[in-house]
């Protein structure tokens, strides 16, 4: 059970945070189809940063002394770097969509096409191969939180809570959840959030009340880019052994789906991401899932074809969508370039 929850979080957290990235852009009125591209870029930047810092040897001492606090600081630093460059990358979309009033779908698609090509090109230059990896060691041995770090014995039996949330987890998971909560509150409970949302519903009305629509939309897209860049690095760290390949397995597009699935509302998005992550995890590990701890692998014993389990995440998403899409409501002004003269 602990295993299932841990692995579900690993899949769900990048989806959740990137879906929130989509919300911030769309709630301000800009469709951000470029989530996938920004994720790819963020993953690359994060991995490159980790690799360079390792080569410079900044954390060699900390690693040797098992100073895990310093190493977690390294992770946080990398997340910030990935977020900043993700934001910078998303400015391309913001500029095209807000200042040039270009078609947002096309702008986003352009970034999606550009990111993998650019990233692969740079990886080729840097590493002379198709994968950019850490300079030394594995992601888990450098960055993973283990129970020994909290003073537990290596062979200690932990309670359910500790073994689920303190052992074999990445700090990034909790940082992302925290960021998710804080940003959701900002979106709904602050003046800034209200203004941002108003620009996605009726920008002309917002403008007439003295809100700078251009500024708000830039803010939305920049926050979106930062979250997506960070999400990209989190994806690379937790599911790809901190390697960048110019590919995030379509998680950016899945995040878009999760955003629509979650009806542009943070709480629903979190639920949708968890649901999808859970079934994704079941699909990959059904044969070794022991749900109630009695040593019987129930799902494996059912004798169903493995492909059935791999189908599940998508099947469940379709089913839920079929029942909930009626109440789905997108921000009214999304995708429409703001024109002052239009009423």
């Amino acid at each position: 059970m602990s295993f299932l929850i841990r692995q579900t979080l690993i899949y769900a957290v990048p989806l959740m945070i990137v879906a929130l990235a989509g919300v911030f852009a769309e709630r301000s009125g800009i469709i951000n189809l470029a989530l996938e591209g920004i994720m790819i870029f963020g993953a690359f930047v994060g991995v490159l940063f980790v690799r360079l810092v390792q080569q410079w040897g900044w954390f060699d001492v900390a690693k040797q002394m098992d100073n895990w606090v310093a190493l977690q600081g390294f992770v946080l630093m990398t997340m910030v770097v990935a977020a900043v460059l993700g934001a910078v990358f998303s400015l391309l979309l913001a500029f095209a969509a807000i200042n040039l009033r270009a078609d947002q779908t096309i702008g986003g698609t352009a970034l999606n096409l550009m990111a993998p090509a650019l990233v692969l090109f740079l990886i080729r230059l840097i590493a002379n191969q198709n994968t950019l990896q850490m300079a030394t060691g594995d992601a888990a041995s450098w960055f993973m939180l283990k129970k020994t770090m909290f003073g537990f014995d290596k062979n200690a039996e932990l309670g359910f809570f500790a073994s689920t949330f303190l052992d074999k987890v990445y700090l990034t998971t909790y940082v992302c959840i925290l960021v998710f909560v804080i940003l959701s509150i900002i979106l709904y409970k602050t003046r800034f959030g209200l203004r941002l949302r108003s620009c996605g519903e009726n920008p002309q009305a917002a403008d007439s009340l003295g809100i700078n629509v251009v500024k708000m939309r830039y803010a939305g897209v920049t926050i979106s880019g930062a979250l997506a860049g960070m999400g990209g690095f989190v994806y690379a760290l937790t599911t790809a052994n901190c390697a960048s390949t110019g590919d995030v397995a379509g998680f950016g597009f899945l995040a878009l789906a999760v955003m629509i699935f979650g009806n542009w509302k943070p709480l629903n998005i979190a639920g949708a991401a968890m649901l999808f992550g859970l079934f994704k995890c079941i699909a990959a590990a059904y044969a070794s899932l022991d749900i109630n701890g009695d040593g019987v692998f129930l799902l494996a014993n059912l004798g169903l074809n493995a492909n059935f389990y791999r189908l599940l995440p998508y099947l469940v998403t379709l089913l839920v969508l079929a029942f909930t899409s009626k109440s789905s409501r997108a921000p009214k002004a999304e995708g429409i370039p703001y024109d002052k003269g239009q009423r």
Binding site: L91, I126, N128, A140, S141
Partner: protein
């Protein structure tokens, strides 16, 4: 506003340039020293002054630097070429993991047009492409790594310019399986690439099971083996594979044999999370991850330099048109005793085992048990959980 925007745009451009700049300067480090015995210090691509590259390499699916099959073979090309002053070049068939025979034909033709005298091609999937290109270019020699039969053209006539080289992977797998069970592991795993259709991976896997069974028999312990081909079809790393293998370690599997190029990434990641162990494949992978206990070797690098050497020494007739099988008697398979971290299984025991393989008293079945057929190999002491 305009000024601000111009500033912003300039900033974006400068930053993205800085990102490129930072990246571009990194690869310069490695190329200062050229130590002819260390393949990593030899450049992957050279620029020939006359623009012809005598020695060419065609990659298998997966990437060149997979720290395994492709890289091991290419190291042989580089070592020979660097030591003998040849120009060399690698060609990757288009479309990566989904490369078709047409893509491979194109890559081989490019190599021929690039002035190749000898082309090394890695991976049994290149056979169809090689049949046509080798038949059309009888003057160009081909070294076909991992092909276990002589290659014939469309009419069934054996092509004299193709040297098919295969390995007795089952011996290497046997040694690995035997060693880890002797070491004290009883819960083993095997994750293979190629979806259960790659003969080399199948031989590794079957050998591994036989070795584990033999050791279990001797010691009287019960061994269970989780055995899968899932998520390894394209020899690439994937989050799903990492989750699955994590689940294995979580449920008590102690060591997993990672048998397929870049799936190594996912398996070592899962092992590092769970403090599990890994057996590497093809080349000594203990330098890539602390989780690697030992690696089941096959002498790709040596076989490649050896075959290219045959060509330049005018001994091509020895290997052209036939299948050369390299195994324990050529010291082409085995375990790296210098770098392994086994403690209970000694080098002496290993050497005894190797000599009984060499003198033929110990034979390892080399049949290819594709897909789930491996369950036939279960014995009294070995249970096989096939995950398919």
């Amino acid at each position: 506003m305009k000024k601000f925007l111009a500033l912003l745009l300039a900033l974006v451009m400068v930053l993205s340039l800085a990102a490129c700049g930072g990246g571009g300067s990194a690869p310069a480090e490695g190329d200062k020293t050229t130590d002819a015995s260390d393949p990593d210090s030899i450049e992957d691509s050279v620029t020939a002054s006359d623009n012809t590259y005598e020695v060419a390499f065609i990659t298998d699916v997966g990437q060149l630097k997979d720290k395994s099959f492709n890289q091991g073979t290419y190291d042989g090309v580089k070592l020979y070429a660097a030591a003998n002053g040849k120009d060399y070049k690698y060609y990757q068939p288009a479309n990566g993991d989904q490369a078709t025979d047409d893509d491979r034909v194109k890559a081989m033709q490019d190599a021929v047009d690039g002035g190749a005298e000898i082309i090394v091609a890695a991976g049994f999937m290149q056979e169809t492409a090689m049949m046509s290109v080798a038949a059309a270019n009888p003057d160009v020699k081909f070294v076909f790594i991992d092909c276990d039969h002589p290659v014939a053209d469309a009419n069934g006539a054996v092509l004299d310019n193709v040297a098919a080289i295969s390995f007795q992977e089952e011996q290497s797998g046997y040694l690995a399986g035997y060693a880890v069970v002797k070491e004290g592991y009883t819960q083993l795993g095997f994750a293979g690439g190629g979806g259960g259709t790659n003969p080399a991976c199948c031989r590794y896997g079957y050998g591994y099971v036989q070795g584990a069974a033999a050791a279990a028999e001797e010691m009287g312990v019960d061994v269970s083996i989780n055995y899968t081909w899932q998520y390894g079809d394209t020899f690439s790393a994937s989050p799903e594979l990492q989750t699955m293998i994590s689940g294995w370690y979580e449920n008590g599997i102690e060591i997993v044999f990672s048998c397929g190029g870049s799936i190594f990434q996912s398996i070592t990641a899962a092992a590092a999370e769970n403090e599990g162990d890994v057996i590497g494949v093809d080349v000594d992978q203990s330098f890539e991850s602390d989780t690697v206990v030992t690696s089941a070797l096959k002498g790709l690098t040596e076989a490649t330099t050896w075959a290219i050497g045959k060509f330049y020494n005018d001994e091509w007739a020895d290997i052209g048109g036939v299948n050369t099988v390299r195994g324990i008697n050529d010291d082409s398979v085995g375990l790296p005793t210098a770098t392994w971290s086994l403690e209970n299984f000694s080098v002496d025991e290993y050497n005894t085992l190797v000599s009984s393989l060499k003198d033929g008293t110990l034979k390892v079945d080399n049949s290819v048990l594709a897909g789930g057929d491996i369950v036939q190999a279960a014995t009294d002491h070995v249970t096989i959980n096939y995950v398919g």
